[in-house]
Amino acid sequence: MPIQYYITLASILFCIGVTGALTRRNAIIIFMCIELMLNAVNLLLVAFSKMPFAVLPNSTAAAGTDAQLFVFFIMVVAAAEVSVGLAIIVMMYRNVHSIDVNFLNRLKN
């Protein structure tokens, strides 16, 4: 399959993630959209790693393994981020009993 299909799919996923993160009001949904962005990147990296010859003029057979390693790092770091992020959301829920980001306007004035 040509690499363009993967690039298109990843771009679409990424755009859905960005749109969701910017327009939704529920903190958890925003969070999910950000995860979607990360997963789009994972998909793209794996696609690039499996098809180095499609995009690279002079690469060796070993090329591409570093992108697969990168995907693992993204997963690990995303998990660390989730643990902190959910803790912050829970902390906010305890105080205001809502996870709607429209509540977040005390700092404006």
Partner: protein
């Protein structure tokens, strides 16, 4: 490598201190000692003595520039812990954990100042940011702190997503995460990069602009800096921000061909014009909005955006003078901001009125505060003057875009207005400025810090000689 490992180890040690050491007051002394050893370890690294023998597969490259910036960051943190460490104990039950997080942030700073591979850039940014989300939300019962933490977290995660997309696209275009290969790919293809690489670089630049709060990606900054506990705002606005710039400047070098002459046409996009627009927008938003603030804390948040505009000049000109300049700027800006926040933490009222008549009640505090503000405004004889001078000189050295310098000077004049408003409130207005209890050692610390700022302002070569030594 020394600083990365020693800071991580100290982070773990501080975590154990949380339950092994019962005396809450001693945490900050342990942390200060840890920072001192960290500083020594880093200086040993500069001298070529490595404490650990680790094969990093060329993913990290320890240049003098990066190591030297590390020393500055560690030193600023040491000053910060000595001056305001006591205030951290107010928030929550486990004060030692804040020091843990600060050590982890420093670990991230060390990675960022040495990365040579996009993977390390990503990991460094994350090690830097994740502890900061926690520090921002450390005042658990305070709604403003909660809100700031959530905002910071969502914006941070979002910009990380953009950064990863940028890295992935760059990988698709060049086939490697190593910076030098990315740079070489730019040269091999002639002057124009592929579409993937240009898009990837744009994504990376946008995400870094988020991290260093350059306009138009600055909107989270005032809210987060205002909502976070004042002690931690101080840390976020200084060490962390400067580290963002060091990471950014390394990334920007990717767009520069080895000769450094033909910067504009490297990738078929006029990057310099792009940066010029970014700088003007940042200076405009930072300075003009700061004028209208009623709270000193929020004013400082906007002023940090304005200062970021000045630091962006280093990314614009990318010559030797710019690299020296960003080091001097980090010293000047970090020290002055840490000082002013240390005073702010002691104030009960953060509005401008709260500072009325401070000079009569606390003359030492007011005098030190004045020096910090003068340095931030860039008045001669303070460190801030030479910091701004180096930045502008680096732009003039590039030979083009001289009008940018004129705009920058005009905005520096605007910044004098809002900094002097605080000085005016302290000295020329009557009022009952109420502060918390001021200890003599705190006063001594402030005096020493202002002396240091004036010393750097008189002899900036002190900072730079060490760099070349």
């Amino acid at each position: 490598m020394n600083a990365i490992i020693v800071s991580a180890v100290w982070g773990v040690i501080m975590m154990f201190c949380s339950f092994l050491v019962k005396n809450r007051g001693s945490y900050r002394h342990i942390a200060a000692f840890g920072l001192l050893t960290l500083l020594v370890a880093n200086i040993l690294n500069v001298k070529g003595i490595l404490l650990f023998d680790i094969d990093d597969h060329n993913m990290l490259h320890f240049s003098n520039f990066g190591l030297y910036f590390n020393s500055i960051a560690i030193f600023s943190t040491l000053v910060y812990v000595l001056l305001t460490g006591k205030e951290m104990e107010k928030y929550g039950k486990y004060a030692a954990e804040y020091f843990t997080l600060i050590f982890f942030v420093l670990c991230g700073v060390s990675v960022l100042s040495a990365y040579n591979n996009m993977l390390m850039l990503f990991i460094g940014i994350e090690i830097l940011s994740i502890p900061l989300y926690i520090l921002t939300g450390s005042d658990k019962k305070n709604l403003k702190s909660n809100e700031a933490a959530l905002k910071y977290f969502l914006m941070g995660a979002f910009s990380t997503g953009l950064m990863l997309m940028g890295i992935a696209l760059m990988y698709g275009g060049t086939g490697s995460f190593q910076l030098e290969i990315v740079r070489a790919a730019g040269k091999a293809n002639g002057t124009v990069l592929s579409f993937l690489e240009v898009t990837g670089l744009l994504f990376l630049f946008v995400s870094m602009a988020f991290k260093v709060s350059a306009a138009p990606f600055h909107f989270w900054t005032p809210d987060v800096y205002d909502g976070a506990p004042t002690v931690f705002t101080s840390f976020m606005a200084t060490v962390v921000k400067a580290a963002g710039f060091i990471a950014f400047i390394k990334l920007c070098e990717v767009r520069m061909v080895e000769t450094g002459l033909d910067i504009d046409k490297t990738f078929g996009v006029n990057w310099q014009l792009l940066f010029a627009i970014l700088i003007i927008a940042t200076l405009l938003v930072g300075n003009i909005t700061a004028v209208f603030q009623q709270s000193v804390k929020r004013m400082l948040a906007y002023s940090s955006i304005a200062q970021a505009g000045f630091m962006l000049f280093a990314l614009f000109s990318l010559n030797d003078l710019a690299k020296e300049g960003i080091l001097v700027y980090s010293v000047a800006y970090s020290l002055a901001t840490i000082g002013i926040f240390a005073v702010l933490v002691k104030m009960k009222d953060f509005t401008f009125e709260g500072f009325n008549g401070l000079a009569k009640k606390q003359p030492v505090l007011a005098a030190a505060c004045t020096i910090f503000l003068l340095s931030l405004a860039g008045i001669p004889l303070t460190a801030g003057f030479f910091a701004k001078y180096y930045m502008l000189a680096s732009v003039i050295k590039t030979g083009s875009y001289t009008w940018l310098v004129i705009i920058a000077v005009l905005f520096a004049a605007v910044s004098v207005y809002y900094y002097f408003r605080v000085i005016q409130a302290m000295y020329f207005k009557d009022g009952e400025a109420s502060t918390e209890e001021i200890t003599p050692s705190f006063k001594t610390g402030l005096v020493l810090l202002s002396a240091l700022i004036i010393l750097v302002g008189v002899m900036p070569s002190l900072v730079l000689n060490y760099f070349y030594f």
